[in-house]
Amino acid sequence: MNNLIKKYFYGDYGEIEAGSNASNNNKNIAWPLWEVFIRSKQGLDHKHVGSLHAADEQMAIENARDVYTRRNEGVSIWVVESKYITASNPEEAGELYEPAVNKIYRHPTFYKLPDEVDYM
């Protein structure tokens, strides 16, 4: 086990491929972030699956195909730049959903019906 700490080159990368002489031109150009939505089959909604960086919408679609549909996970892709998504604030969730919580008569179980028609 001790003999493993040793420098091997055979059968592995050499110095050149390992970038020993790579130029130092590291300018950071950040591509915008996109959210990806996929319809897994006809008849179903698009569903958020994740995000990725791409220079434009065409590249975003192509990258989404390459990473999110490698095993037939989708038949249709939507992408939208993340900055265009407005989200509700989780801290205001209480007030935001309160009106719905209050109205239990919106649920079918609120109504007591005779047994004969209770399948309704």
Binding site: L4, Y10, G11, D12, A18, G19, A55, M59
Partner: protein
């Protein structure tokens, strides 16, 4: 809201198995721990492509080349899922990549070992991906939502990796004497480093306890390692090969395999950068990033130009 109250709400969610989502309040240390763990996990997926990439052109048949290529492409995807999950915590992709390249962020030490023969592709799939799967299955239930969802996606893809690896070794194990020897040699070299993938023993693992409390981790390093040993000790019999550990034997009272002492000196040595390939791996990553810079710039320039054209029209 005061801090104490926020912390209470947070821990209450964790205790009740309610996932934490990006916009939810979370303790700074929880955010930092997740950023560190997820980004290092992402780096491991990406650096992990290098030892295998080495064999794409040398794989013994077109079929094996195609399979290896597909596996490596999956690993690139895994890196992407994880970088995206980390980005939801407020760190930029560039910053993470900078941390990797400057050596401030680590990646799994296993990828600092060289891939010397074709059998290594089998051993990596079976042992390295096998060990990763055990960890990742646990992480499917981690408390941070985007990380857990990324893990579910990854786990679905991983089982092909382990199976193709085992199959490579299985074919070799049925082959000529030389092929059998190559198979055994790869297992011998990859076994101990695979065990080290689970990290230091529980007694020495510094941030384990808090991670368990926050349900970032749900099983200890030693528990996961034992699970791995029990699985591999059985599977190796099918190959008609052995694991390089004289102390490995079934313990009837514990219902687990006992195994020999791990060489932690070697582990820490590789973590510190003195493994056989640390420098090569990092240099290859940096070179790939730098050599791709003009592509990233050109794509942005092209996108800008298209946008302006649309405006003009």
């Amino acid at each position: 809201m005061e801090l104490k109250k926020l912390e209470e709400i947070f821990q209450h969610k964790i205790d009740n198995e309610i996932k934490i989502e990006p916009k939810d309040w979370m303790p700074e240390a929880y955010r930092k721990t997740n950023i560190r763990q997820i980004s290092q996990h992402a780096h491991s997926e990406v650096v992990g492509m290098l030892p295998e990439g080495n064999w794409i052109t040398r794989a013994p048949s077109l079929k094996r080349k195609a399979i290896l290529l597909a596996k490596i492409q999956d690993e690139a995807g895994h890196g992407l899922y994880l970088y995206s999950a980390a980005e939801t915590l407020g760190i930029s992709r560039d910053e993470m990549i900078e941390q990797l390249h400057s050596g401030r962020a680590k990646y799994s030490s296993i990828f600092n070992y060289p891939t010397l023969t074709w059998a290594d592709m089998g051993a990596i799939g079976w042992l390295v991906d096998g060990a990763a799967i055990i960890n990742q299955v646990m992480l499917c239930r981690t408390s941070y939502g985007p990380y857990a969802r990324g893990m579910v996606r990854i786990c679905k893809e991983e089982s092909f990796h382990q199976r193709q690896g085992f199959e490579i070794l299985y074919v070799l194990s049925q082959g000529t004497d030389a092929q059998k020897a190559m198979c055994q040699d790869a297992i011998n070299r990859w076994w101990w480093p695979s065990l080290m993938m689970f990290g230091p023993t529980d007694a020495e693992s510094s941030n384990s306890e808090q991670s368990m409390l926050w349900k970032i981790k749900r099983k200890s390093n030693d528990e996961l390692r034992q699970q791995f040993v029990d699985m591999i000790a059985e599977q190796v019999k099918v190959l008609g090969m052995t694991l390089p550990d004289a102390d490995l034997k079934w313990n009837e009272t514990k219902k687990h395999y006992d195994f020999g002492a791990i060489n932690w000196n070697e582990f820490w040595n590789v973590v510190k950068g003195n493994g056989p390939c640390n420098k090569q791996r990092l240099n290859a990553r940096i070179a790939a990033h730098q050599n791709g810079a003009w592509v990233r710039e050109a794509a942005i320039a092209y996108a800008e130009k298209q946008k302006n054209k649309h405006k003009a029209a």
